[in-house]
Amino acid sequence: MKLCIACGMPMERREDYPLGDETKDYCLHCARPDGSMQSYAEKVESLSAFVVRTQGLDPAAARKAAEGMMKRLPAWKEKP
């Protein structure tokens, strides 16, 4: 089973992939509407917003948490 390189989500079904394209290494949540992968900046924004919405963290703390989580993922390991 593949894990999304950008967020770690397990990808088991066709609908987990951007536009149903199972050759991609990232999931639909990490894709732009055209199916390309979000940039680092876009992913930090979307993950921070998700953490604020679902766990209620302070926005600055959520951003720090998002950057910390992303550092563990293959797509972003080389980022600062």
């Binding site: 088991e12 998700f50 679902t54 209620g56 989580m69």
Partner: protein, 206 residues
């Protein structure tokens, strides 16, 4: 040809042995962390419990921070996998919260150490805990929003719903000697907490 096969076989055995040792260290570290506390545990205690030399432990985990982080990630993988599978089946919030409780119950002593010592842990370990809670909140939020759309759950901010559940659960776990003197909080009070929480969030309209 034969010598190549022997080399491949030996490499494969070494790799299996290495994985086996890593697994044993992770399991024993979780046990020692549960008994002594994560912050209080020295790597030498873990090495002794796992029956490996101190140097061997450092071959697998180069720092104490790396060891703590790996144990937390290992715990989180099991919990997140379980919630992911249930979420996939479209099970509702009741089943998800039950699975959350069950996953904690299986490693309750470790989980209590983790949440009560969180602020004292190294940053990488705290990030691992945030990652676990993010996955848990993702699945609970998804089930809660489906329940809201179906009119079974009152409309409310999802972070308050999630934090109310975690707050209730962690308060009981952090003080479990008061709520469950037998030491097994989830086993003795989990069903009560779940039923009460559901009574708080249920009932709504589309």
């Amino acid at each position: 040809m034969l010598s190549e096969q022997i080399v491949i076989k030996k490499e494969s055995q070494r790799s299996l042995q290495k994985e086996d040792t890593r697994r044993r260290i992770l399991d024993k570290a979780a046990t020692v962390f549960s008994e002594r506390g994560i912050v209080e545990t020295r790597s030498s205690m873990v090495a002794r419990a796992a029956g490996v030399a101190h140097g061997t432990l450092f071959l697998h985990f180069t720092t104490q921070e790396a060891l703590i982080t790996a144990v937390i990630e290992d715990f989180g993988d099991g919990m997140c996998r379980r919630l992911h599978d249930l979420s996939r089946r479209g099970d509702g919030i009741h089943a998800l919260l039950e699975a959350h409780l069950q996953a904690i119950a299986e490693r309750e002593d470790f989980y209590v150490r983790l949440v009560t010592e969180a602020s004292m842990l190294p940053e990488a370990a705290r990030t691992s805990l945030v990652m676990i809670q993010s996955t848990v909140s993702f699945h609970i939020t998804r089930a809660a929003e489906a329940g809201m759309d179906a009119g079974r759950i009152r409309r409310q901010p999802v972070h308050m719903l999630f934090n109310t559940w975690i707050g209730l659960l962690h308060h009981y776990l952090a003080n479990r000697e008061l709520f469950a003197p037998n030491g097994r909080l989830i086993g003795s009070r989990g069903a009560e907490l779940l039923e009460y929480f559901l009574s708080l969030i249920e009932g709504g309209s589309r």
